[in-house]
Symmetry: C2
Subunit: 189 residues, 2 copies
């Protein structure tokens, strides 16, 4: 951040009175521009004993596999965001289920929230951000080619819970390396 | 947002190619400035059969009661954010417990996440954003003077679960009126 988005004056980095952290401050109009963590919402869409995964058509991690997930937008709920991302990336309609994983990625300034979901019908296909979308059994998961650590954690917990007949939720903190210049998704640790 | 925070050129609102929503776009340097929901983290700090609540010293809802909560910062986990807010607003050290409430407030572009917590000792006091901090039993909760609907939902679920001997997590979607010009906390519906 170089300039004030309100009045276009140069920004200075300083701790405002009464605050405890340095912020992007405009000394002309007095605006304080806060930067806060972003929510990434996703789901594990299930059809019978298989789940839907997507092969990424975009960087970072193009060509690697992921569960459908992406940045939550203003005006939607978390469940709506997860369902929208599933429609955009996998062209699949889902009913959102229970909370599965909450993954803090502080180095990337993100929190990833993952739900269980069910496909209404086995209808899906690659959206613009996917090269390929497919239904796979647990044995068919490409474990060595999962795009992001939060997706790996999510899939591991999904299958462990399913085997145990449970639907728990799971926390993780991933201190993956942050690669600047990407869309700010974390690289694998 | 009036000006590009990267290069100070005037901003236009338009849907970028391949996107599906209008964004703040700089036609000079090509920057796209996304606006996404913010996370508010809080907790219900418990000491024996009582919980800690704070009377707000700041707007919105000055003078009303709340659980300690506030905006999550970059670089921290959700649990760290909730503990920090408890220290800032109630000067109390807590051990974070189980997930209690996840409240979507789409009109305010916020998601509120609340945990159960335990005070290490019955030591607390008003931080700069609080007029008063006190330990109360369920019967002493000022139900008519709770600052925000998400806090009300959180407290109701906390006591209902405690009575039932459970520690569940609960979702809510609050479509409260958004009052511009405040710190963007939602007004009661």
């Amino acid at each position: 951040m170089n300039f004030c988005s309100n009045c276009a004056a140069p920004i200075v980095v300083k701790t405002p009175p009464g605050d405890h952290l340095p912020r992007f401050v405009c000394e002309r109009c007095g605006s304080i521009h806060y930067k806060n963590p972003l929510l990434v919402l996703g789901c594990v869409p299930q059809w019978e004993d298989r789940i839907l995964i997507c092969r990424r058509a975009i960087e970072p991690r193009r060509g690697y596999w992921t569960v459908p997930a992406g940045f939550m937008e203003n005006g939607e709920t978390m469940q709506q965001a997860a369902a929208r991302e599933c429609m955009e990336e996998a062209m699949a309609q889902v009913e959102m289920g229970s909370l599965l994983a909450i993954v803090d990625v502080p180095g990337a300034h993100q929190v990833h929230v993952m739900f269980r979901a069910r496909l209404y019908q086995p209808v899906f296909g690659p959206g613009p951000e996917s090269l390929e979308v497919k239904l796979v059994t647990e044995a068919e998961i490409p474990w060595d080619d999962i795009a992001f650590p939060s997706g790996l954690f999510t899939l591991q917990k999904f299958f462990a819970d399913r085997a145990a007949g449970r639907e728990d939720h799971h926390f993780a903190e991933l201190r993956g390396r942050f690669k600047p210049g990407t869309t700010s998704m974390p690289e694998p640790a």
